[in-house]
Amino acid sequence: MAETAADREPAAAGARIAGRDWRLVVINWFRELTLVPVIIVLMIAGAIVNSVFFTTSNLINVAQGGADLGMVVVAESLILLTGKFDISLQGTFGLAPLLGAWLIAPRLSSGLGTEWSPWVGLLIVLGVGLLVGAFNGFLVIKANFNAFIFTLAMSILLTGLQLGWLGGQTVYNLPSAFIYLGSESWFGVPVSVWVTVATFVVAALFLRYHRIGRAMYAIGGNLEAARAAGIKVDRIRIGVFMVASLLAAVGGLMQAGRVTAVTAGQGSNLIFGVFAAAVIGGISLEGGRGRMMGALTGVILLSLVTNILTLSNISSTWIDAVDGAIILIALGLARLIGTERT
């Protein structure tokens, strides 16, 4: 309860309050962009490590890898902002495209043999996303299960289904409509990159300017206050779970398109990178704080790290360890410059 300078007030009460505090606006933007210098340093490091780094094809490669991750980071950030989290997004990321692919691929390439239209397959992917999200949301919000343990169990279940369903086989030979997102390019840039960037922009604008976006910040900041203000807190939170799972399914579709197949292991261990990117980017695990712009810089940073590690000829068995160490260093940096908020 210590009084700080901020608590002390000028004596004149009832005076008009300044509408915009430009100092605060600048500080907030500065916060969101604090990772930019780190990203620049990484790029210089990348150029030193391997001359391939600064080629167009490699950078597009980085962007495309970041696109899949980015979709799930947007998804997780939305849930984190409302004060919950969802570990099973990685399960949805794998299972949803797998089910879609299974129903449309021929029997020879591990499909069911029904060979449905790819459009139906796409609907199934999205449908699975919505369904898993609704299930998670309902049980975490309405039935009050602990988000951590419940979505962890869901994640194990979904990943297990993905593996067990096809006995560990890979579904390939997919129609072009199904893999369009991950395999086609517009103006030389993969469609998945366009879509992910657009998703970030829409999410950022929605959070800033839409009434539900603002309500999400209020819910994450103080759930009971939001409820007492008449905000439909449960409906919004379940909706956020559904949208997030939907985005994760689309992210999975992107990866499936990129490798033109759905493997039994798609999505495994993805969620740790997702949390890391969001937290490094300033999304608070406590809810209510953080912006999409910061989360995007987190995604870029993590994708660059992965790429540079691959290019640096570190033995593949060591990549995970180095990856982890670099995430820890990035977290430390984020703490120093004040973007990470516990």
Partner: protein, 539 residues
């Protein structure tokens, strides 16, 4: 203005406990301390001395420097200039927490007990019980010693209980017991009565007197001036970081005390129940509660009916646990009643659905502003408009109009005299009084036809209290139907009618001001109406 409640002994002051007595030694002292935060001077050469065996009141508006002084006295910060002395010894270094804890303890407004541990564990938190330096916990000895401490100071608490099950009052006792058992003889009580019901306050006073008689020096911080007069020997007043008044309580009139706190122009109604004199014509029934029955841990309600008309402010008065705040929660839908109906503007509202109730034109100021009042990280403007997001956004696509938001927020901020650097300043960084103004502003922003307000002035300074009550009073004059649930008699000055609740039922009605304080207290305490009438015979 002594609180002369029928049950409480107001004259229990013992001789020998007076300040300045020979033999009384200083337990805590600040000498010409000076402290700045950035540009702001939080404390300017403040000197204050607390003697053993005295209760020393410390009052001042929010932001006057009380909390800063407490942080200096408890070793959480170091003064820029000046000295802190405890038990006549120079203050230990800030890192030596153990030495501080052995000499001074502060019981804060918000409880510092660890809920899942037992009372005994809380008392001996982080201290060896198996001999000095041993890391092994000796459970038997811990329980015995905790029990001894309780016995020695006359506290009646089972030391094996889980601390999470204790009432607010009992948690306070645990904290005091912890401090005493470490050996501290200088206790700081920071707003100790803010969440206690009346009977618990009386018991707290008894304990403070017992501590005082046992040679403990108490620094008593409170917004309730009548408490200062009831329990304190001396009082010091801080204003804008300076000590402006200090002396024996008996020598300072309440008027002078308030004047010292506020500076020029004391507020109009300080410390008195002064009811509305003029009363406009009452309009139609806006809120109708019929046979409401709720079961709740914070006080159940049995078959309660009440009505509030436009332009009326109905005060619902009751002790903590009487069910008065449960009625408010049930009306707005935070708890689901098992029987009864709530009608707003002639239409019954769905049970247990807050958003639906609020949409029917109900404004709500919740009891605990930290728990339900505001989103701390969001700005003043956003918090003020939280209940009207739909109105300030495009009905089809939902885009929020920032211009409209700022306009409405500005309007509320001016009505309530909110002081903030900008509309974007996070509410977490405002003082308690301004935070509460934001909560009330949020409820008033939709211009509701019914306003439900629970304890709107808990823990706020005198000037903010006036601003808050004035704002609610104005809303009533403009034709709002107000239900004010409060156990603070000063809040009742804006009421036009009172209902007293005892154990979930309405015990008594007072149909027109002015309120007879004695009768009111008697009714609230659950004394028989006949007895109550006798006590307030000349009212």
């Amino acid at each position: 203005m002594q609180g002369n409640s029928p049950g409480g002994p107001a004259d229990g002051r013992l001789p020998g406990a007076r300040s300045g007595e020979v033999g009384a030694e200083t337990v805590g002292e600040a000498e010409a301390v000076f402290k700045t935060f950035g540009e702001t001077k939080a404390l300017i050469d403040v000197s204050l001395r607390v003697l053993s065996g005295e209760c020393h009141g410390l009052v001042g508006r929010n932001g006057a420097g009380k909390s800063t002084l407490v942080t200096l006295l408890t070793g959480l910060a170091r003064p820029d200039r000046g000295t802190i002395r405890l038990a006549q010894l120079p203050a230990p270094s800030l890192s030596d927490r153990g030495a501080w804890l052995a000499r001074v303890a502060c019981v804060y407004q918000r409880s510092m007990v660890v809920p899942p541990l037992t009372v005994a564990e809380n008392v001996f938190l982080n201290r060896p019980t198996n001999g000095e330096g041993s890391p092994i916990v000796n459970w038997r000895r811990m329980r015995e010693r905790a029990h001894d401490v309780m016995l020695e100071w006359g506290f009646d608490i089972d030391v094996d209980q889980e601390a999470g099950r204790l009432t607010v009052e009992q948690r306070q006792i645990v904290e005091i017991a912890r401090a005493l058992s470490i050996g501290a003889r200088f206790l700081i009580l920071d707003e100790p009565t803010s969440s206690l019901e009346k009977a618990a306050v009386e018991r707290l006073f008894e304990r403070v007197k017992r501590l005082r008689d046992g040679g403990v020096g108490v620094l008593y911080i409170s917004h309730h001036l009548e408490e200062i007069y009831e329990i304190c020997d001396r009082v010091s007043v801080l204003r804008d970081g300076e000590l402006v008044l200090s002396g024996n309580v008996g020598d300072i009139s309440q008027q002078n005390l308030v004047a010292a706190m506020v500076g020029s122009a004391p507020p109009r109604h300080a410390g008195e129940i002064e009811a509305v004199s003029k009363q406009g014509a009452l309009g139609e029934y806006r809120l109708k509660v019929t046979n409401l029955s709720v079961s709740s841990r914070s006080g159940s309600v049995a078959e309660l009916s009440l009505e509030v008309r436009a332009g009326e402010c109905l005060g619902l008065v009751g002790l903590e646990g009487s069910g008065s705040s449960t009625v408010a929660d049930a009306i707005v839908g935070l708890v689901k009643p098992f029987a009864g109906t709530v009608e707003v503007n002639g239409k019954s509202v769905p049970r247990g659905k807050v958003d639906a109730v609020l949409r029917r034109g109900v404004g709500y100021v919740p009891q605990d502003r930290h728990a339900r009042g505001f989103a701390p990280q969001l700005g003043v403007g956003e918090n003020l408009t939280l209940a009207i997001l739909e109105r300030i956004s495009n009905p089809v696509i939902g885009i929020v109009s920032f211009k409209e938001r700022d306009r409405i927020a500005q309007e509320q901020a001016q009505k309530l005299q909110i002081v903030a650097r900008s509309l974007q300043q996070p509410v977490a960084s405002l003082s308690g009084g301004n935070q509460q103004k934001v909560v009330v502003g949020r409820a008033l922003a939709p211009n509701p036809s019914v306003l439900v307000v629970v304890n709107p002035t808990v823990g706020v300074d005198v000037a903010s209290k006036e601003a808050l009550l004035d704002a609610v009073g104005r809303a009533r004059d403009e034709g709002m139907a107000v239900l004010l649930v409060s156990d603070d008699f000063e809040d009742l000055r804006i009421c036009t009618r009172l209902l007293v609740m005892v154990r979930g039922r309405i015990a008594r009605e007072f149909d027109r001001p002015p309120w007879d304080r004695q009768r009111l207290i008697a009714a609230v305490e659950g004394l028989e109406p006949a007895a109550a009438a006798m006590m307030g015979s000349d009212g």
